[in-house]
């Protein structure tokens, strides 16, 4: 590559936000070494500022037509919209982290690791080269493994959760990479655009190896996305992690990995999509059924949210599965569906984890029983928790309903109605456990004997400013996307996805 091509590459358009977040991460890392522990808050705010600047850069480059730089990074619709969502997620998580950091007394490393995880996620959505995608995936994963282990108050659960996450995540990356190595071997290419052109001949000449590669890639990404039957690490990692990190691995890494899965699977395997993508449909159905089924019997709040996020991953997988039968004209709708539901899911999950953090920290509630009397003692907090739970269940007037409804419509349009029916049936099933929690909140607490009873703290739960802002923003996002979904759907309909 000559110097001239490097100079003419539109690096700022494609990599601007990534560069800004990366630089912030390095600055924060160095500052953390020198500043005293008391300035912890300042460091997190600096990190949040970096994310905001990256957002400004992204908005600024949005008007520029899509560019491809160095045959590796791209600024197409999917990259821009997912980057936007990822930066918003990063900002919300950092704000939540401001309070979690104080109350959990987390080690200093936590804020720059959050930023490096964000860099990895941004690389996953902007890269169109398998090498760069893999580096992004691992940067996100390795930072998350460390972040999960940083909870000081519950040291053992934290280290164990991180260990399980690392072992499963390590197997996942190895399996994914093994599949990718076959794709490279058959075509000699790692650029997704070149692979998309070779896709049909790949499928016609080497169908057997293509199927093996497809299954390996799906299993590898399935472990990262916590699809059933590869979801075993999810509840343990969520239970061990600090609340802000649990919110991070359930939203940021899911958004990035779904965007990556969409790109990789659709670009490489569109030649054989009709035969291959039904496997994904089956995986989605199993995930929805098992995720909701396992959540039914859970009493631990974190594990319940973990299984609920497994089930949500099943819903999110449906748009990808539909690529098997959709015509190219219908592809933009599927992109819309996936990104809209990811946005809604991000608001709902971060909001739920923010409330859960307050519950755990101020009332010492970890089990569902501890919620008794919550609605009476802190009505506003309980009301927002109820909105998030209803949103996750898919109640009308929340974004969750609109997202699920659009996915359902797509299943009808592309003729995979059975998947839509599974979506509907499992959503009904999910109302049982979400409503169970809501009912518990309105029950009056049992008479307590001594101080053995959990979560019977007197009075209202205090809400710190930053967490309050996070909850308010998530609440606004959930309700706004439920009442006037057009504010997001209309812009999404205008996006040139690929």
């Amino acid at each position: 590559m000559s110097l001239a091509t490097l100079l003419q590459a539109h690096l700022w358009t494609t990599m601007g936000p990534l560069f800004v977040v990366g630089m912030t991460a390095i600055v924060v890392m160095v500052l953390e070494l020198f500043l005293p522990a008391a300035s912890r808050k300042f460091i997190v705010l600096l990190a949040a500022l970096g994310v905001v600047v990256a957002g400004v850069v992204l908005v600024h480059t949005m008007s520029v037509p899509p560019e491809l730089s160095l045959d590796t990074m791209v600024s197409d619709g999917l990259a821009t919209v997912s980057s936007m969502l990822l930066l918003a997620t990063g900002l919300l998580v950092l704000l939540l982290h401001l309070d979690v950091n104080e109350s959990e007394e987390m080690p200093r490393e936590s804020s720059f690791l959050l930023l490096f995880a964000l860099v990895g996620a941004l690389a996953m959505v902007t890269a169109v080269n398998l090498v760069a995608l893999y580096i992004g995936l691992e940067l996100l994963s390795v930072s998350s493994y460390v972040l999960v282990a940083l909870r000081k108050r519950h040291r053992q659960a934290s280290v164990e959760g991180s260990m399980k996450y690392l072992v499963m995540g390590g197997i996942g990356s190895a399996v994914f990479l093994y599949g990718v190595s076959f794709i490279y071997g058959l075509t000699g290419q790692t650029s997704l655009y070149a692979l998309a052109q070779a896709s049909l001949s790949l499928w016609q000449h080497d169908a057997a190896i293509a199927v093996i590669a497809f299954l390996l890639i799906v299993v590898g990404l399935g472990i990262k996305l916590s699809l059933v039957p590869f979801h075993m690490w999810t509840p343990d990692a969520y239970e061990g992690a600090p609340s802000s990190v649990a919110a991070l691995i359930s939203t940021l890494s899911k958004t990035a990995t779904f965007a990556l899965a969409l790109r990789v699977l659709v670009y490489i395997f569109n030649g054989g999509a009709h035969d291959l993508f039904p496997y994904i449909a089956v995986l989605a159905a199993i995930t929805m059924l098992a995720g909701n089924w396992l959540a039914l019997t859970q009493h631990n709040l974190r594990r319940l949210l973990a299984f609920s996020s497994v089930a949500q991953a099943g819903y999110l997988l449906i748009p990808i599965a539909l690529f098997g039968t959709a015509s190219v004209r219908e592809w933009p709708d599927l992109y819309d569906n996936l990104l809209f539901y990811l946005a809604v899911y991000t608001f709902l999950t971060i909001g739920a984890f923010a409330v859960l953090h307050l519950l755990e920290h101020h009332r010492d509630v970890t089990m569902a029983d501890g919620l008794t009397g919550f609605a009476k003692k802190s009505p506003w907090l309980a009301a927002s928790f109820i909105v998030f739970l209803l949103g996750l269940a898919g109640m009308p007037l929340t974004g969750g309903f609109v997202g699920k409804f659009y996915i359902f419509t797509s299943t009808v349009q592309t003729g995979v109605l059975w998947l839509g029916i599974v979506l509907f049936a499992t959503s009904v099933l999910s109302f049982f456990y979400y409503f169970g929690l809501i009912r518990t909140m309105f029950q009056s607490p049992l008479p307590t004997y001594g101080d053995a009873a959990q979560g019977q703290a007197e009075g209202r739960t205090p809400v710190p400013v930053a967490t309050g802002i996070v909850i308010a923003l998530c609440l606004f996002g959930t309700v706004a996307l439920g009442v006037v979904p057009g504010i997001l759907l209309h812009p999404l309909a205008l996006v040139q996805w690929f």
């Binding site: 691992e138 994963s141 282990a149 164990e160 197997i171 990356s173 190895a174 399996v175 990479l177 071997g185």
Partner: protein, 104 residues
């Protein structure tokens, strides 16, 4: 150059990958689990280097990819061993069965 058939190299990688996967899922010692994951990644590297020399369209990208994969694997295993150390300090053990403080 000695002629090496592609099939035997791929078979070596496949066998190594399967041993690694089996080990990662069944071994009782955390260190052995990490070693097994490392074996799976080595299998991937053998595959990449083989294809880069003897694949359908040989080029250098495969070797570059293998270099990246080696580096990333080293980082991942470093974090893994740090976690094993942290776990050992808490439980005085590196056995998988001792990682049982969370509810099943």
């Amino acid at each position: 150059m000695i002629h090496m058939p592609v099939a035997s190299l791929l078979a070596l990688a496949a066998v190594l990958f399967c041993i690694g996967l089996y080990g990662a899922l069944t071994k009782r010692n955390l260190i052995m689990v990490l070693v097994s994951i490392e074996m799976m990644l080595s299998a991937v590297n053998i595959n990449l280097v083989t294809f880069s020399r003897l694949g359908a369209a040989p080029n250098l990208t495969g070797q570059v990819f293998a270099l990246f994969s080696i580096t990333v694997a080293a980082a991942e295993i470093a974090v893994g061993f740090a976690l094993v150390l942290a776990f050992f300090r808490l439980r005085k053990s590196t056995e998988v069965k001792d990682a049982d403080s969370q509810k099943k």
